[in-house]
Amino acid sequence: MALWKPDPTFYPSPRDAVNAPPETLAYIVAFDRAAEKPDAIAVIDVDEESASYGSVVGWTDLPYTGDELHHFGWNACSSALCPYAPHPHIERRYLVVPGLRSSRIYVVDVKDDPAKPTIVKILEADELAKRAGYSRPHTVHCGPEGLYVSALGGANGSDGPGGIALLDHTSFDVLGRWEVDRGPQYLAYDFWWHIAHDVVVTSEWGTPSMIEDGVDADLLLGREYGHALHFWDLRKRRHVQRVDLGDEHQMVLELRPAHDPTRTYGFAGVVVNVEDLSASVWVWYREGKEFKVRKVITIPAEPAETGDLPPVIAPFGAVPPLVTDIDLSVDDRYLYVSCWGTGELKRYDVSDPFHPVEAGSVRIGGIVNRTPHPSAPDRPLAGGPQMVEVSRDGKRVYVTNSLYGAWDDQFYPDGVGAWMAKVDSGDDFTFDPRFFPNGDDFRGLRPHQTRLQGGDASSDSYCYP
């Protein structure tokens, strides 16, 4: 049902969105690695005034097993206010939740009981395959033509290319493949856009056969995982430019364009440099009509005893930082960088995007360090800060600890565990000791991406500065 006034969670500009009220609930997707129990959406109370603050207050179990929930997104966001096709009287009420392994897509309604979302639609894998030619759906963004869903794999027997599928934003039916001309693009992972400049950016991980059984050392050392960014024309759906970061920079994952719609720069995280195991963050920027990239952050590997390392990295005698997620605050001031291997969450002041300045760091988990959370200082933790989500006002940063089933098992072979932590980001940058859902709180499932009620730093795009 249409509203009489715009959905209150839509903001014309990022300047307005930073004044949004604090979120009271967080939605976390959690999956069963053994694929014996159904994956689920956990609802966490994040209202600091609440008696159940920091605990799981609701669950929505899926009807199937083996989905491997990973990333997800809203049916509608602030882009509904964009001037060329405004439709601001729809509601932000559905979460669109793909299963990365099963290729199913669930649509979940959070309106009636926000603490217990209900499943309202299930798109089966063959619908995505038949209509769009894709499988392994991943990132979801609400945009001008509907819902855009990136997918890692091809379908109907082919491993690739991965790309973007378009979903109708009212019926959620798969409308088809987004790309009209994909140029040289084959690998896919994340995507986002400069919505006011009609530019789409996509990144590269690998096809299903390259990732689903774990990281493949031959492919990695052969430099065959993704190492390029692609720029597209959002209107014409055409590939415009491929920018290679250098094939030593393996796995270009998360993309975080500036929220300010007048700007055309953004950040991309690279998991590992195969020459020295460092990780890096790059900035892309437009110069004339061309996009260029520049490495602005390098995080070195940390030396370690071979005996402390899992087999996959034991020969190297060092822990790679493994930057697997980054997130940019809505005011474009701070970039948060997850080092899943070393167990560190770094904060950089990126007011000048070309010269990031480190402005805080916390340690938790890590392949070697196993740093405990301050609320349980005697308990070593496996896993590391992985998916990172930032509140709209930029004051609260949430992290969960699982990367991807098969890869968790390689890097944390004794068990990755399950935990979520919150970091308060102000003048200081420190853990909130009251917030640490972990272990059995997640019923044996591994938590992955977080979405905050009403929107967060990676959910909305804005058409007005």
Binding site: A2, L3, W4, K5, P6, P8, F10, Y11, P12, S13, D16, L81, C82, P83, Y84, A85, P86, H87, P88, H89, I90, P144, E145, T170, I195, A196, H197, D198, L234, R235, P261, T262, C463, Y464, P465
Partner: protein, 213 residues
């Protein structure tokens, strides 16, 4: 021309100008993007031109048809179409789709034409077109009669009056929002004009039908 018809024509123009979806918001967005009031002002005539084109098409079809058929037939057929279109606008959750912020002024006019057409902006003028007794050079004293030339003149007159009203209101709002109020107003004051719009279409269709019987 009856005063009532002229007032209706201007009022509908103002109503169309008021709707953010009809273009003033796009003009503001373009201005904000480049931090340029000049761009806001440049965008408005292009938007008005597209709107005028959309209205003119309907106006000329109605007036030309009126010059060969009896006005009663045109009114009843038009009224039925209008009520149907209004109901569809009211009940459907589909909305106009378009991708792209970076448009030339020509493209912007094209966008406005499509936006206005998809919303049936011209259709809303049907009661005025069929019963407005539009004064055209050499027209008869009661309504649109005579040759095709008169019909086209009538359509041009309707389009100009309507579009001037639309442009005036859209321009005032665009400049006010750009210079003074700011876009935060959207969150508080952007009422669902689409529903009101659909109701207006139905009312216009019903009026046309009533006047025809």
């Amino acid at each position: 021309m009856k005063d009532g018809s002229l007032i209706a024509l201007v009022a509908l123009g103002a109503f169309h100008g008021l709707n953010p979806g009809m273009g003033w918001l796009f003009a503001v967005a373009r201005g904000l993007q480049e931090r340029s009031r000049a761009l806001v002002l440049q965008s408005l005539p292009a938007i008005a031109a597209g709107h005028a084109g959309s209205v003119f098409v309907v106006a000329v079809i109605v007036t030309l048809t009126g010059s060969v058929l009896t006005s009663r037939v045109v009114s009843i057929a038009g009224g039925v179409v209008l009520v149907g279109f209004g109901l569809w606008r009211l009940l459907s959750s589909r909305h106009f789709r378009w991708v792209g912020m970076r448009l030339s002024l020509w493209q912007l006019a094209g966008w406005s034409f499509l936006m206005s057409s998809a919303h049936g902006a011209g259709l809303m003028l049907l009661p005025v077109l069929t019963h407005g007794s539009i004064p055209v050079p050499h027209a008869h004293s009661h309504g649109i009669t005579g040759g095709a030339g008169d019909a086209v003149s009538a359509a041009i007159f309707v389009t100009i009056v309507h579009t001037l009203a639309m442009l005036t209101v859209a321009g005032i709002i665009a400049v006010l929002v750009y210079e003074v109020v700011g876009l935060t107003i959207l969150r508080r004051a952007w009422f669902n004009l689409d529903r009101l719009w659909a109701a207006a279409l139905i009312a216009a269709g019903a009026t046309t039908l009533l006047l025809a019987t």
